[in-house]
């Protein structure tokens, strides 16, 4: 099945004239009745172009409005040809063009939301219709501009986005509300005469036929144009579908002078190429399904277009003027040749795909049949593809692509698992003019994109080909459209992104957040703003697309106003809407208490008493009780503590204290009162009177030393063991030994007995805290958590104090780390022996034996010692015991 594209593809036409008007930022275009002037209206300027004389410079009139122009229309009657209506925000201004400049003639105020469209009556020179997001359509007679002569109220939730007078009789008005059409008879007013459910998605354009009173066409987001007869609105007379279901922005019948034609603007899909920013000419005939002519040239979305008859009436040629987001306006011709093609198509009885069938595939069911996939790809729409050959039996395809002077001949083989399990295989065939580098790059991206699509079980050929062409263009330069898009993403958001807006969640307009210190911040929609009118008002919609009335109605990217307040100059903007609360009471963690709580490890009863007073002072009766109980327990402990003479004898003096305290801490933790729970943990957790009094000098050091220090000292009191061997894995021991020993030395007269068996000594840890070991981690977490809160309060001393009661060391972050380098293999290790060669790393400079247990190294001379030997030597000496070393190690060990 070989298809030559040339047979079916539309005629390509380029512009007759192109003019770049950078910085104009116009958003609306209109041509006056005589066809002499072209108006480009934007937020900042109104620009007038004389079409009789292109050489005449553009006339600029400053506007400097805050709002974008959503619509500008010249009147279409001879009598009123000097009038022009311009819609910005809720206001419609009617200007009269005099010789020199425009004069503001009327201001039409009645709409409460953004005006989306204006249409002049073709018979009554002073009559015009305007429609708005506020759902109303107003009819105005300029002879009485104070109020509308007729207001058409669409009792529905979606705003009106388009309005159009019937061109033949002028008695009917069509308005578009989302996907629905309403037809009104202006003689009857008040109620629509017809409701037409035209599309499932938003209607972007309405156009009445110039010849048949009851015919009109609609252009929609769903990628189709439908022809309706209002006398028989049940089903569309005809549907045409865009090749890649791209949204149709506008669809208009050609003027009577050009028969049987229809011109559409298509909004290209995200990431597609400039070729698609084209105007398409279609035949009006029922049978023709593909465009007749594609007018290419614009690099970006076309915003609007207008027809003009040949001013000199010499021929029947029609000119089309387009204004695009690429800031150029272009002129195109509908000549005799195109006219012929249009009419031919009417006569031909082509047996193409039926419109409905064509339409149905828009519901994008991932297809499994390869044939189906081929049939739905509209190859001519992919720029650069010249020729292709598909073979569904052999499951392969040959495609010839030409872009930027490169030729690619691509073979695609579809494995039987495609598109569910295996991606197609791509290969560049002979004849491809790519260098190796580029072809590798392109092949990689082909594989990636096909694999990612296939993973989702989606057909990927079209996607891959588009990606390939755009990649090729990007790699070889000249991908202007791409950059242009990035420059104006907001507009893109309005137009092409409308496709996926249905998948983006509806914006949150209220919220609540707690911060780390117990401040609660809330925001809500201000009361002045009225709730956005929505189709389904019972609940808030889920997707952003529900709002697109605001976004899309005002195509040209003015502010997406969700909830405009009634007054036009919204000076106070959104008003007061953010509230900041102090929710700390709710959280049971009080800053005042945190500031005033004391920690006196040496005197628990006093600490409890003090804290009780603090609780009393701040009116926390519940805590007063807790602290009183704590005091009682502490008193009991304190009295028993003094009786303790032997380590082994320590047993809980009050057997109920432990369970009671545990229950108390659990209670507060469950309640979320971390403060009280943590304070109780601190009070009755691991606490050694002896240490706390003795080690005050190193209290500023890391909390990690605490536990080890405790162990060490506890052990050393025992008359049998003067030196302790520590858990060899715990590096913190090594780090802190020096201090501990220093303290130790000062306070203690020691026996000199020392044995080698020390290294094997096991810590016989005695449970010294009232709170057992079983929940230690939990208590530690509570303390850490409370410390974090104190950190937020900027109570740093209190925080440090709390952290000192945490038993397990915190992760070592960026402190100095001691590693030992193995003499033999030069590898560093933190353990006592080299992991690599299994040799001991450190040898005691005193006894020359390897150090397995606690070691100390001098930072200056790097000589190491058994801790015990260190003590022994430096008790009487100041200088390093190693021969020849004059390092005053004693200073470094803090032993002088």
């Amino acid at each position: 099945m070989e298809i030559e594209i040339e047979e079916k593809s539309p005629v390509i036409r380029t512009a007759e004239y192109c003019m770049n008007l950078e910085d104009l930022q116009a958003t609306a275009l209109s041509i006056n009745y005589t066809g002499q002037y072209l108006l480009l209206a934007g937020r900042r300027h109104l620009a007038l172009k004389n079409l009789y004389d292109y050489t005449e410079p553009l006339k600029l009139f400053n506007r400097n409005s805050k709002f974008e122009v959503s619509c500008a229309e010249f009147a279409i009657c001879n009598n009123s040809s000097a009038f022009c209506a311009i819609a910005t925000s809720q206001l419609i201004e009617v200007l009269k063009w005099t010789e020199s400049s425009p004069v503001l003639e009327y201001s039409l105020r009645a709409h409460t939301r953004v005006v989306t469209d204006i249409d002049w009556h073709s018979k009554h020179p002073y009559m015009l219709a305007t429609c708005s997001i506020d759902t109303y359509t107003h009819l105005w007679d300029l002879r009485d501009p104070k109020r509308p002569i007729l207001s058409l109220s669409a009792v529905c939730m979606s705003g009106a986005t388009q309005v159009g007078f019937n061109r033949v009789s002028g008695n009917f008005i069509a308005t578009a509300h989302d996907g629905d059409l309403r037809i009104w008879d202006i003689r009857k007013g008040s109620r629509p005469v017809q409701y037409i459910t035209a599309h499932l998605n938003r209607i972007h354009g309405i156009n009445w036929s110039h010849t048949e009173e009851s015919n009109l066409i609609t252009a929609s987001q769903d990628g189709s144009v439908k022809f309706f007869d209002i006398n028989n609105p049940r089903r569309a007379e005809r549907i045409i579908t865009t090749p890649t279901p791209s949204p149709v922005w506008r669809a208009r019948y050609t003027p009577p002078a050009f028969k049987e034609g229809l011109v559409t603007i298509i909004v290209p899909l995200v990431g597609s190429e400039s070729g698609e920013n084209s105007l398409l000419l279609w035949s009006n005939s029922k049978n023709s399904q593909s465009p007749i002519c594609s007018f290419t040239g614009h690099n970006d979305v076309i915003l609007d277009f207008a027809y003009r008859n040949d001013p000199y009436r010499q021929s029947n040629d029609i000119e089309i003027f387009t204004w695009s987001r690429d800031q150029t306006f272009r002129v195109w011709k509908l000549d005799k040749e195109l006219q012929k093609l249009c009419i031919q198509n009417t006569i031909e009885t082509e047996n193409g795909e039926s419109a409905l069938e064509y339409h149905q595939r828009n519901s994008t069911q991932p297809s499994c049949s390869l044939q189906h996939e081929f049939s739905i790809i509209f190859f001519p729409s992919i720029p650069g593809i010249q020729k292709y050959e598909l073979d569904t039996d052999k499951r392969n395809a040959m495609i010839r692509i030409v872009a930027n002077g490169f030729i690619i001949i691509l073979q695609v083989i579809f494995p039987s698992g495609y598109p569910f399990s295996s991606p197609p295989i791509f290969e560049f065939c002979p004849g491809t003019t790519l260098d190796d580098n580029l072809s590798l790059k392109l092949m990689k991206s082909l594989k990636d994109s096909s694999a990612s699509r296939v993973k989702k079980g989606k057909a990927c050929l079209e996607h891959c080909l588009r990606a390939l062409v755009s990649d090729l263009k990007k790699e070889t330069g000249g991908d202007k459209a791409h950059y242009l898009r990035l420059q104006s993403p907001r507009l893109e958001g309005a137009l092409s992104k409308a496709l996926s807006d249905s998948l983006i969640p509806f914006p949150k307009t209220s919220g609540v957040r707690f911060n780390a210190t117990g401040i609660l911040v809330t925001f809500a929609r201000p009361f002045t703003a009225k709730r956005f009118s929505l189709r389904n008002q019972t609940t808030t919609p889920r997707a952003l697309s529900a709002l697109s009335g605001g976004y899309l109605g005002n195509v040209n990217g003015s502010k997406p106003v969700f909830y405009p307040s009634k007054d036009i100059d919204r000076k106070s903007s959104t008003g007061v809407s953010i509230c900041i609360y102090d929710a700390s009471k709710l959280l049971m963690v009080s800053r005042e208490l945190a500031e005033n709580y004391v920690i006196i490890p040496t005197n628990l009863p006093r600490m409890c008493r003090k804290n009780r007073e603090v609780a009393e002072e701040f009116g926390r009766a519940d805590l007063v009780q807790t602290w009183s109980i704590a005091e009682t327990i502490a008193l009991a402990l304190a009295s028993s503590d003094f009786e303790l003479s032997d380590d082994e004898m320590f047993s809980s003096p009050n057997p109920f204290a432990k369970t009671f305290l545990e229950a108390l801490i659990n209670h507060y933790a469950k309640l979320g009162d971390v403060q009280t729970a943590a304070m109780l943990c601190v009070t009755f957790g691991r606490y050694y009177q002896e240490i706390s009094s003795r080690t005050s000098s190193f209290s500023t050091k890391s909390n990690t030393s605490h536990l080890h220090a405790q162990r060490l000292l506890k052990q050393s009191v025992s008359p049998y063991h003067t030196v302790t061997a520590m858990d060899v894995n715990s590096q913190s021991v090594i780090k802190y030994n020096a201090w501990v020993l220093a303290q130790h030395l000062k306070g203690q007269t020691r026996s000199n007995s020392w044995s080698d068996s020390l290294d094997d000594f096991r810590i016989n840890e005695v449970n010294r805290s009232v709170l057992g070991e079983s929940n230690r981690n939990f208590y530690d977490n509570l303390k850490k958590f409370y410390a974090d809160i104190l950190y937020c309060y900027n109570l740093l001393p209190a925080r440090a104090l709390i952290l000192k009661f945490v038993s397990s060391p915190a992760a070592f972050s960026s402190t100095v780390e001691f590693v030992t380098e193995c003499q033999i293999c030069k590898k560093t290790s933190k353990s006592p022996s080299c992991l690599h060669c299994k040799k001991f790393l450190l040898y005691c400079s005193y006894c020359q034996l390897p150090i397995k247990g606690s070691a100390n190294s001098c930072l200056s001379c790097s000589h190491s010692f058994h801790t015990a030997h260190l003590l022994e030597w430096f008790e009487n000496h100041d200088v390093c015991p190693v021969a020849g070393c004059r390092c005053p190690c004693a200073d470094n060990f803090g032993m002088t």
Partner: protein
């Protein structure tokens, strides 16, 4: 029990989608449909506009503060598909990093617990989740992407706090080797999306794998919030959805998650936020109301305020 400290007119030209106070409660950041982010100094009840950050080309959906140990850093995500990290240096707010590798609106940003470093997760309507890890020394970002994390789109993210008790080590192990208590924790976060599922992701080597898929909601998930851990054995996640429900998921071992339906509200629920001790849950939704829920001793949740406006009058026992 809740007192108003102050109210604020943000001065945004369009609706606000997010307001966030920093770690110390000194700065307030707001983001809006007018494409800007504003930062207010709210120290001591003041409200001075410090910065007006313009850089997004579409409505800004969410903002989040990084932990102050990394400096004053704010992350924002927008309809324009970009994620921007802003940093204050000498009082000047500037763009610190811009990430634009998402194909659709980015709906959520969330910083990991600071213990893991400066890590940001971003969830987008293109269905993927990006994890940006900053090397604070070089300022370079490492990006990992979870493609197709949620079909149709990811709407919300929340990290698992790092201070969870580590159940992989038994009590004995903890006692003999205290260092193991802080052994490298497994990073986890929760995400919610348009596939109506809450997913739990876990770091496995250099990959992120889906650990669990929690399915009870019957419409899009709009927010997830992982409760802070004070060390209690169970961990909880709150999720809210278009289906007007808030569900609290709890687990003890990350294997079995038990859902509890907190309430079915009158309108869509957009936001859930835990208080720092995890005992109060703030809920807000499409009906413009704010609710605070508190758990009593028996694990029953009750509403302690309807609409924060009135919250100050509500006293809890």
């Amino acid at each position: 029990m809740v007192s108003v400290l102050q109210t604020l007119d943000s001065g945004h030209e369009d609706l606000i989608h997010g307001a966030e106070i920093d770690y110390y409660g000194l700065n307030l950041a707001t983001c809006s449909s007018d494409n800007t982010i504003k930062i207010f100094d709210i120290k001591n009840g003041g409200q001075r506009l410090k910065a007006d950050l313009k850089g997004h080309a579409g409505p800004v959906w969410q903002i989040t503060w990084a932990h102050p140990r990394f400096g004053n850093i704010l992350a924002s995500c927008s309809y324009d598909r970009k994620v921007i990290l802003w940093k204050e240096t000498n009082g000047e707010w500037t763009k610190y990093y811009e990430y634009n590798n998402h194909d659709s609106s980015v709906n959520s940003v969330s910083f990991a617990p600071p213990e893991y470093g400066l890590i940001l997760a971003c969830g987008s309507s293109d269905g993927s989740i990006s994890i940006l890890t900053c090397n604070t020394e070089t300022g370079m970002f490492d990006v990992k992407k979870i493609p197709n994390a949620h079909t149709i789109g990811c709407n919300a993210l929340s990290w698992c706090p790092s201070a969870l008790p580590d159940s992989t080590f038994d009590q004995k192990g903890k006692q003999t080797n205290p260092n193991n208590g802080v052994a490298a924790q497994i990073k986890r976060f929760a995400s919610g999306g348009c596939d109506n599922a809450v997913k739990i992701w876990k770091e496995d080597g250099d990959r992120w794998i889906e650990e669990h898929k929690l399915e009870v909601h019957c419409d899009w998930i709009r927010d997830v919030a992982w409760a802070p851990s004070i060390g209690l054995p169970s961990t909880r996640i709150a999720s809210c959805s278009q289906d007007r429900r808030v569900i609290i998921w709890s687990t003890e071992d990350f294997a079995l998650w038990t859902p509890t339906i907190l309430n079915t509200f009158d309108d869509v629920v957009w936001n859930v936020s835990w208080s720092l001790t995890g005992n109060v849950l703030g809920v807000s939704g499409g009906d413009n109301k704010i609710f605070l829920y508190k758990e009593n001793n028996d694990g029953i949740w009750s509403c302690i305020s309807e609409d924060a406006e009135n919250a100050k009058d509500v006293r809890h026992t």
